[in-house]
């Protein structure tokens, strides 16, 4: 069970959180302008790299907030968390 640093509440155990997938994938404001290829990419293509990954978590059994985290997928170590809207550190 990971220990996750909620930017609002501090370190909390993983079971209080919900994983939210890759971060920084903004939903297009005009989906109609996307062709099938671009739309497919938006829907389905995610980074799946070894190493640092920016991802979303929600402190669903805590403050309820979504936030972003940088985690190394080869060690599961967090390199920091930050609020939605803040740039990736």
């Amino acid at each position: 069970m990971l220990l996750i640093d909620c930017p609002y509440c501090g370190n909390r155990p993983e079971i209080e959180f919900t994983y939210g997938g890759q971060a920084h994938i903004a939903r297009p404001t005009q989906p109609a302008d996307y062709d099938d290829h671009q739309w497919t990419e938006f829907l389905y293509l995610r980074d799946n790299q070894r190493g640092l990954r920016a991802e979303r978590w929600r402190h669903s059994h805590g403050c309820g907030r979504f936030f972003n985290a940088l985690r190394d997928t080869t060690t599961d170590r967090f390199h920091g968390t930050y609020k939605v809207g803040e740039p990736r550190p």
């Binding site: 209080e16 805590g62 403050c63």
Partner: protein, 165 residues
């Protein structure tokens, strides 16, 4: 040991609201609500029987005696984008108390409940086994627990199981 000291008691009915809003609305609310709203995360503020529990950066749980109408609050918030929703019946509250109350809760609550890490006045949403609760330390040896009403039997049974242990 279950017989000798009280570990759990139901708390009487209360009025409850979930207050949410942006910074302006919340600071207006903080002025209108007698004890104010904590700007520090995970802290409760209270005066008499009126309490405001920080649940999230834009979310507070307000507690008051039954049938309390937060008129001042409503007036202060009028015209400001916010949400105030009555949840008096959504949840119920019980208290876990006694010298071992933190230990008892630790059977199913993953937080560090040591007084240094979870002091009196701290409150937060968390989990108790497979239920979602709001945990609020009201005294060194007492926790106020809010839980959605249908999860109450689960919580009390889980506690009873721990008391046996």
């Amino acid at each position: 040991m279950a017989e000798t000291s009280l570990y759990m008691r139901m708390l009487p009915p209360m009025s409850r609201w979930i207050l949410q809003g942006g910074a302006d609305a919340l600071s207006a609310a903080a002025r209108a609500w007698p004890a104010g709203l904590s700007s520090e995360a995970c802290r409760a503020r209270g005066q008499g029987e009126l309490h405001a529990l920080w649940l999230g950066p834009e979310e507070f749980l307000l507690l008051a005696p039954p049938d309390h109408e937060p008129r001042a609050l409503r007036e202060a918030l009028a015209g400001m984008p916010h949400s105030l929703v009555d949840v008096s019946h959504r949840q119920v509250a019980f208290e876990v108390c006694g010298p071992d109350c933190a230990l008892l809760l630790s059977a199913a609550c993953p937080l560090d409940l040591d007084a240094a890490h979870f002091p009196v006045g701290m409150c937060t949403r968390t989990v108790f086994g497979k239920a979602d609760i709001v945990l609020w330390r009201t005294r060194a040896d007492a926790f106020h627990v809010e839980v959605w009403r249908s999860f109450l039997p689960y919580c009390t049974e889980l506690l009873a199981e721990q008391v046996q242990n």
